[in-house]
């Protein structure tokens, strides 16, 4: 084999524009056959756009892609499929109404002599794949009876079962727990051994350093550099290249010691239970304290955050706020008591993407800015301007729709909506998911400023550094209940991970 054939994929000067936004700027690099090639970068760095172009779901504005010696002229998922490219999407992409086997082979590849779909063969092949990769699935199971992690495993199985030469994995581990992630790492190793090229996207640096052959860093749509993953490569090299500046001390450093915590219990949950979701949840938030919740996917932190705010019903349990029992935990009573919730996915719930920022800001404060039932639009506009200004949200006017804002700005609007209510307690579920490091630091600053003004804060997050920089105390969840409590003196990444992922 001569040298040039080793280059499986050549990205040559690719640019991609969405209207005026340039998602990719003249990106070039080369992927060799059979290597695990990682794309690393902050959100909005252009990784997902790039893999979508490789898969043919998007067409580049400029530049060429050469796949296996052939320059792609016609970008379409069909063409890339024919060329042996499969992809696992960032968002769960499954057919809920079908079985596992049908999800693994949506192309109905196995036909009998008469041209009918060979169901037996389909199930057998599916079973073979499941066994081969040691997964916990049954081919005839309906997808809508599976957990999210199982669904994600099915999707991964589909990508690697298609007889592909190249598999694109866009954050495949976001829904997986530690064991499942390790299993995926084994699968990737195995695929590499079979000569299949892997293009891998992940935020988890440890994981990336564990599995990759080479790592390319993208930043703001531009190619930054490529590292060969050997012993000399340090985590900090990657992070500083991703961020493009030295990490500021305030971010990813432990919260400064505060003496303002009193013994007064501000918010308390007693013995909260729900079948298949969480059990025996007890905790207290003291006045002036910032409480963190950490748990890997599936540990139940998401449910806890939603249940204490009334977004999900609890089967049993009591909630106390400022010493008083809340009889009916519904979002309405919580908001009335000035308890606000920042949702982990602002797009599905949290923002009205197609309404003006003014309307978004008005949602929780309509009552405050109306006389009787008549809304005072002028005062609402002033209210909006005040918070937009305070949180340096970059918008041309209060009539701007959040849909057209960047992720960081959207998140700031979300924060403004909640803080605009002048809350006494803020429950935040992944307050900085999917935004860049700069915006992250700003939001952390705003949150801590609010705490200084006396707002209670509970942070649910899957990012340890975030918890460490915000919280005085962290509760660790595993298998649907609280398994450990760490005071600020003991907070360290290793210690928390050991509890969350270790075998207690």
């Amino acid at each position: 084999m001569d040298k040039s054939n080793d280059n499986f994929l050549i990205i040559d000067n690719i640019s991609k524009n969405y209207g005026v936004v340039q998602a990719l700027k003249n990106v070039s690099f080369t992927v060799k056959k059979g290597e695990v090639y990682t794309l690393l970068g902050e959100n909005g760095a252009g990784k997902s756009t790039l893999v979508k172009i490789i898969k043919g779901e998007e067409t580049p504005t400029k530049g060429d892609i050469t796949l296996d010696g052939e320059t792609i002229k016609n970008y379409s998922p069909m063409v890339s499929k024919a060329m042996g490219i499969a992809m696992v999407h960032q968002e769960l992409a499954i057919f809920e109404n079908m079985t596992v086997a049908e999800n693994i082979f949506p192309a109905c590849d196995y036909l009998t002599k008469t041209g009918a779909v060979d169901k037996k063969r389909l199930r057998k092949e599916a079973q073979d794949r499941i066994d081969m990769f040691g997964m916990d699935l049954i081919p005839s199971q309906k997808m809508d009876t599976l957990t999210v992690a199982q669904q994600q495993m099915t999707e991964i199985l589909r990508a690697i079962s298609a007889g592909s030469k190249c598999v694109l994995l866009d954050e495949p581990t976001s829904g997986l727990n530690k064991d499942e992630t390790e299993n995926l790492m084994k699968i990737i190793d195995r695929l590499r051994a079979e000569g299949i090229t892997i293009i891998y996207i992940s935020h988890r640096i440890a994981e990336v350093m564990h599995i990759s052959d080479r790592i390319t860093v993208l930043r703001d749509g531009e190619y930054v550099c490529t590292f060969v993953n050997d012993e000399k490569l340090k985590e900090i090299d990657l992070i500083s290249r991703m961020v493009g500046r030295e990490l500021t001390k305030s971010l990813y450093s432990r919260k400064a010691y505060t003496d303002t915590i009193s013994d007064e219990v501000f918010f308390e949950v007693k013995n909260m239970n729900k079948k298949n979701a969480v059990y025996d949840i007890d905790f207290q938030l003291r006045k002036g304290e910032v409480l963190g919740f950490f748990g890997l996917e599936g540990s139940g932190t998401d449910s806890v955050s939603r249940m204490i705010f009334g977004l999900e019903a609890m089967e049993s349990g009591e909630v106390f706020f400022k010493g008083e029992k809340i009889d009916k935990v519904t979002t309405t009573t919580m908001v009335d008591k000035k308890i606000m919730y920042i949702n982990n996915n602002r797009k599905t719930a949290g923002l009205l993407l197609n309404s003006s920022t003014l309307n978004n800001m008005s949602m929780p404060v309509l009552k405050e800015y109306s006389r009787g039932a008549v809304i005072n639009n002028k005062r609402l506009t002033e209210h909006t301007e005040k918070y937009v200004d305070a949180f340096s949200v970059v918008i041309p006017s209060v009539y701007q729709k959040p849909r057209n804002l960047s992720g960081g700005n959207q998140q700031k609007v979300l924060l403004s909506i909640c803080l605009g209510k002048e809350p006494e307690l803020l429950i935040t579920n992944e307050p900085t998911r999917g935004i860049d490091v700069g915006a992250k630091a700003e939001i952390h600053k705003f949150l801590l400023e609010a705490v200084e003004k006396g707002v209670g804060l509970i942070v649910f997050s899957s990012e340890l550094p975030e918890l460490m920089s915000l919280c005085d105390r962290i509760l660790v969840m595993k298998n649907k209940h609280i398994v450990g409590e760490i005071s600020k003196e003991e907070i360290s990444e290793e210690f928390i991970m050991t509890i969350a992922a270790g075998g207690i």
Binding site: P77, F95, E96, N97, M98, P106, A107, L111, T145, K275
Partner: protein, 340 residues
């Protein structure tokens, strides 16, 4: 011996296991089937003489056949995640077209083919509106429903020509049968068998479920969503036209009221038969059982000499109950998985 025994064992194990009834209920369309059985048993026991009267059986066949044929097409659309309210108008319009050609003296076979092609063409228009123009199926098929009902009325009301007295062969096509079963009922049986086999075994049939389950993903998986959906609309149009032509033949006259409640009946039957407006669910036998249930219900009201409007009242509540129970089950499953 073993070769026979083993599957038998399997089957008996399947049905004697503790949750067998629950499992049975989960099979698509089984609720409609059970409801048919109950209605059948009820009618057979309470009014056997009236129910098994040959005239009643004939009336039942005439009631089931056309709507059953239309329901096949509707179910295919529902599985792929869309629906078609224009089927009733297509029945009337295609029937009228065939009638006009017959009156003009064209050969019968040509007239029928023209009628069917009209149905296919309307289905194609629906498909284009939904898939290419991106108009919601509710709006686009209500639009075509208006348009072709209007066209039928425009062509029929106040004209001097009467579209009746068709050639005897054509009329017999609607009124006569074979082995005591009407042609239109034979056609229904054959279509149900053919389309069931198609849906269950052919890759294209399977793809309907993929599209109905997650259309964007289906597209990414290389399934030609647009083609398949437009095809499904054309099949729906074709079957509706066939039903309309059969009714026209049976009546020996074009009738502008043909099918004016069919679209509602058929959608209701399909939902009772396991289809869902959300797509990705349903089966052809389910649609058939839904129609049979509806016809039994109507029959019961006729036999007991109730007002026929009572039937619509009950039907409405049955639909609401079926949809609510389905919603309740889905919610409970979600709750058990801890998703909500």
């Amino acid at each position: 011996m073993n070769r026979i025994k083993a599957p038998l064992q399997k089957i008996s194990n399947k049905f004697l296991s503790k949750n067998s009834f629950k499992k049975l209920l989960k099979i698509n369309g089984s609720i409609a089937f059970l409801m048919c059985l109950i209605m059948f048993a009820f009618l057979a026991i309470s009014v056997p003489k009236l129910f098994f009267n040959p005239f009643n059986i004939q009336a039942l066949m005439f009631a089931i056949a056309p709507e059953g044929i239309v329901a096949i097409g509707m179910m295919i659309l529902l599985i792929s995640g869309v629906f078609d309210l224009s089927v009733g108008s297509v029945m009337a319009f295609a029937g009228l077209m065939t009638a006009m050609m017959l009156v003009a003296g064209l050969p019968i076979i040509v007239c029928i083919i023209i009628g069917l092609l009209v149905g296919v063409a309307i289905g194609f228009i629906n498909g284009l509106l939904v898939e290419m123009a991106g108009i919601n199926p509710l709006i686009s098929t209500i639009g075509t429903m208006y348009i072709f009902r209007g066209a039928t009325e425009f062509l029929m009301v106040g004209r001097s020509v009467d579209y009746n007295n068709f050639p005897e062969i054509f009329v017999n096509f609607g009124r006569k049968g074979f082995l005591g079963v009407y042609w239109m009922f034979w056609i229904l049986i054959i279509l149900v068998v053919v389309f069931t086999i198609f849906i269950v075994t052919r890759p294209t049939g399977k793809r309907l479920y993929f599209i109905g389950g997650n259309e964007n993903l289906a597209k990414l998986m290389g399934i030609k969503k647009r083609k398949i959906r437009i095809g499904a609309y054309m099949i729906s149009g074709l079957l509706a036209a066939l039903a309309g032509i059969l009714m026209t033949a049976k009546n020996d006259a074009a009738n502008r009221y043909i099918g004016n409640v069919t679209h509602m009946n058929v959608i209701i039957a399909c939902v009772i038969g396991g289809g869902s407006l959300n797509g990705g669910q349903g089966s052809i036998p389910g649609a058939l059982f839904g129609i049979i249930f509806l016809s039994f219900l109507q029959n019961a009201f006729n036999l007991f000499d109730f007002e026929s409007s009572m039937q619509r009242i009950i039907l409405g509540f049955v639909l609401m109950a079926v949809v609510s129970v389905d919603g309740f089950m889905t919610l409970r499953r979600q709750k058990e998985l801890g998703r909500i």
